[in-house]
C-alpha cells in the first residue's frame, strides 16, 4: 500500500508541476503581450486610487467607471481587447451569478445572458439580508449599501464608497458574512441533488429487484460501489471497513460528480472541486473522521513511534504531529490544484485563439483555433480521466488514513 500511495503522490505532483508549468507559460505569453497591458493597468490603478482617499463616493465612482472605460478603450485601441487572464480567472473563481454569454462586448450596448443567484448576507447590525444578485446589475455594481467588487461584497463606508489603500488592488471596506448561493454553491447543490436522485433510485432498485441482477443506472453504479468497497476500502482499512463505507462513497461520488459537472460546457462553467473552500471542507471531514476514529495504536505511533530510539523522539513527535495536519492539507490542495489547473489549461487553449487573433489578425486566430481545439478536446478527455482519478485518489487516501487510524498493533 505505501508503494501504491507514494506512486499516486508522485503522479499527482508531476501532474501539478506540468500543469503549473503550462499555466506559467501562458502567463508569460500574456506578459509579453505587446499591449503592455499590465504596466498600463498599474499606472491606472495608481491614478485612480490616490493616497488621500478624500474624494466623495460620487467622484470616486465616476473616476472608477471612468477607469473602466479608459481601460476598455485602452484595450480596444490595441485591437480585440481580450484579456485571457481575466477571462480565465472569471471562469475559475466563484461568482454571484451563472454567466453564459456577453453580447456586444466592449460596446455601450454590452449585455449579459446570465442567471442571477440569491445573495444572502449577514451583518451584526442588520441581521440577515436576502436579495437577488441582479440588483448589482448597474454601473456602480452597488445595491443598498453593498458593493459587488470582483465578486466580493463590501459594505460602503460612511460616504457610500469603496476605500483603497495606497496602491492596493482590493478595497479595504468591511465585508458582510456572505452566505450567498454563489455559482459554486449552486453547482454543489446540483451535484448533491443529482446524488440524491441517482442513489435513492438505485437504492430503490435494490429493494425492488432484490436478489436479481442489476438493471439500468443500478448496473452502472454497482461496479463503482463495489470498486470503492473492494479496491479502496477493504485493502486500505481492513475488517473495520464497513463503518467508513458511507463516508467513502459519499466523498467519492460527490467529488466525481462535481468534477464532471465542471466539464460540461455551456452550463456556466462550474468549478466546484476547483474551489479551495470546497476541498478544505472535504479534507476537514477526512481529518475529523480519522481523528475521531483513531485508536490507541494510532496515537502510539505518533507519540512513541515503535522502533525509534528515544533520543530521536523529540524530532519524530513534531514531525508526526505535523504529519497529522499535512495529510489533509495536501488532500485539499491536490484536488483543488488538479481541477483548477485542468480548467485553466482548457481555457488557456481557447484563449490562445483570441490572443493570436488580436495579435496577428483574424486569420491567425482561425489558424490557431484548429490546434487549440485539438488540444482543448484532448485536455477535456484528459480531464474526464482526471475527474475520476482525483475522486479515486481522494477516496483512497482518506481510506488509507482511516486504515492507519483503526489499525491494530501487530508487532
Amino acid at each position: 500500500m505505501p508503494v501504491k500511495s507514494s506512486l499516486t503522490q508522485l503522479f499527482n505532483t508531476s501532474l501539478i508541476l506540468v500543469i503549473l508549468g503550462v499555466f506559467s507559460f501562458n502567463i508569460q505569453v500574456l506578459a509579453s503581450n505587446p499591449h503592455g497591458e499590465s504596466d498600463g493597468q498599474e499606472d491606472k490603478v495608481e491614478a485612480v486610487h490616490p493616497s488621500d482617499s478624500a474624494i466623495t463616493g460620487d467622484e470616486y465612482t465616476e473616476e472608477h467607471v471612468g477607469h473602466d472605460d479608459a481601460h476598455d478603450a485602452h484595450d480596444e485601441q490595441h485591437g480585440g481587447g481580450f484579456n485571457a487572464g481575466d477571462m480565465i480567472m472569471h471562469h475559475v473563481l466563484d461568482a454571484h451569478e451563472i454567466h453564459f454569454m456577453t453580447f456586444n462586448e466592449g460596446t455601450p450596448e454590452e449585455s449579459h445572458l446570465s442567471i442571477p443567484l440569491p445573495v444572502i448576507l449577514y451583518t451584526p447590525d442588520r441581521g440577515v439580508e436576502f436579495f437577488s444578485s441582479s440588483k448589482f446589475h448597474n454601473d456602480e455594481h452597488k445595491y443598498d449599501r453593498y458593493f459587488l467588487h470582483h465578486e466580493q461584497i463590501y459594505i460602503a463606508n460612511e460616504n457610500g464608497e469603496l476605500e483603497y489603500v495606497d496602491g492596493g488592488h482590493d478595497p479595504i471596506n468591511a465585508k458582510p458574512l456572505d452566505f450567498s448561493i454563489t455559482k459554486t454553491v449552486a453547482g454543489m447543490l446540483i451535484a448533491v441533488f443529482l446524488m440524491f436522485w441517482m442513489f435513492l433510485s438505485v437504492a430503490k432498485a435494490y429493494k425492488k429487484r432484490e436478489g436479481q441482477a442489476p438493471k439500468g443506472l443500478q448496473s452502472f453504479m454497482e461496479p463503482l460501489i463495489i470498486f470503492i468497497r473492494d479496491e479502496v476500502a477493504k485493502p486500505s482499512i481492513g475488517h473495520h471497513y464497513e463503518r467508513f463505507m458511507p463516508f467513502l462513497l459519499s466523498i467519492f461520488f460527490f467529488i466525481w460528480i462535481s468534477n464532471m459537472l465542471g466539464l460540461i460546457p455551456f452550463i456556466g462553467g462550474f468549478n466546484i472541486t476547483g474551489n479551495i473552500s470546497v476541498t478544505i471542507v472535504l479534507a476537514v471531514f477526512t481529518f475529523v473522521v480519522t481523528t475521531v476514529n483513531a485508536n490507541k495504536n494510532y496515537w502510539a505511533h505518533i507519540f512513541a513511534t515503535p522502533g525509534v530510539p528515544v533520543w530521536l523522539l523529540p524530532l519524530m513527535i513534531p514531525i508526526e504531529i505535523m504529519g497529522i495536519f499535512i495529510k489533509p492539507i495536501v488532500l485539499c490542495l491536490r484536488l483543488f490544484a488538479n481541477i483548477t489547473a485542468g480548467h485553466i489549461i482548457i481555457l488557456s487553449f481557447m484563449s490562445l485563439i483570441f490572443i493570436f487573433s488580436s495579435l496577428y489578425g483574424n486569420i491567425a486566430g482561425y489558424g490557431v483555433s484548429v490546434l487549440s481545439l485539438a488540444f482543448g478536446i484532448f485536455m477535456n478527455l484528459m480531464e474526464l480521466l482526471v475527474a475520476f482519478l482525483q475522486a479515486y485518489v481522494f477516496t483512497l487516501l482518506s481510506a488509507l488514513y482511516f486504515g492507519a487510524a483503526v489499525e491494530e498493533a501487530h508487532h
Partner: protein, 163 residues
C-alpha cells in the same frame, strides 16, 4: 483570490456534505451495501450448494457404480456357484452311477460265480454218478467170469507188492 476560502461557501459545503453523508448513508449506501452483501452471499450459497449437489450426484453415481459392481459380482459369484453345484452334482451322480454299476456288475459277477459253482457242483455230482454207473457197468462186464476175477485179484496183489 484563488486560494482564499470563503466563509459562506464553507458553511454551505459543510451543511450539504453532512446532509449527503447522513441521508444517503441511511437511505442509499446502507440498503445498497446490504443488498449487495445479501446477493453476494446468496450467490455464494447457490454456488456452494451447486457444488454440494454436484458432489452428491457424484457420490450417488459412485454408489450406483458400486452397487452395480456388487450386483455384477454377486451375479458372477452366483453363476460360478451354480456352475460348481452343477459340476458337483454331475460328478456326484457320475460317481453314484459308477458305484451302482460296479455294485450291480459285482453282484452279477457273484451270482454268475454262484451259478457257475452250482453248475460245476451239479456237473461234478452228475459226472460222479455217471462215472459210478459206468464203473458198475464196466465192473459187471469185466468180472462176469471167474478167471477174470482171479486175474484182477492177482494184478491188484502185484500192485500191492510193488508198493
Amino acid at each position: 483570490m484563488l486560494v482564499q476560502p470563503g466563509v459562506g461557501l464553507i458553511v454551505w459545503m459543510t451543511v450539504a456534505f453532512l446532509v449527503v453523508w447522513f441521508l444517503l448513508g441511511k437511505f442509499a449506501w446502507k440498503p445498497i451495501l446490504k443488498s449487495l452483501k445479501e446477493r453476494e452471499s446468496s450467490i455464494e450459497d447457490a454456488l456452494n450448494s451447486a457444488k454440494k449437489a454436484k458432489e452428491e450426484v457424484a457420490a450417488l453415481k459412485n454408489d450406483n457404480e458400486k452397487l452395480l459392481q456388487e450386483a455384477r459380482n454377486e451375479r458372477d459369484a452366483m453363476l460360478k456357484e451354480a456352475r460348481e453345484t452343477k459340476e458337483r452334482i454331475v460328478a456326484e451322480a457320475k460317481a453314484a452311477a459308477t458305484e451302482e454299476g460296479n455294485a450291480i456288475v459285482a453282484k452279477a459277477r457273484e451270482s454268475i460265480q454262484n451259478e457257475k459253482n452250482a453248475a460245476i457242483t451239479e456237473l461234478k455230482n452228475h459226472v460222479a454218478t455217471l462215472s459210478i454207473e459206468i464203473a458198475e457197468k464196466i465192473l459187471k462186464a469185466e468180472l462176469d467170469n471167474e478167471e477174470k476175477q482171479k486175474q484182477l485179484v492177482s494184478t491188484l496183489l502185484e500192485d500191492i507188492k510193488l508198493n
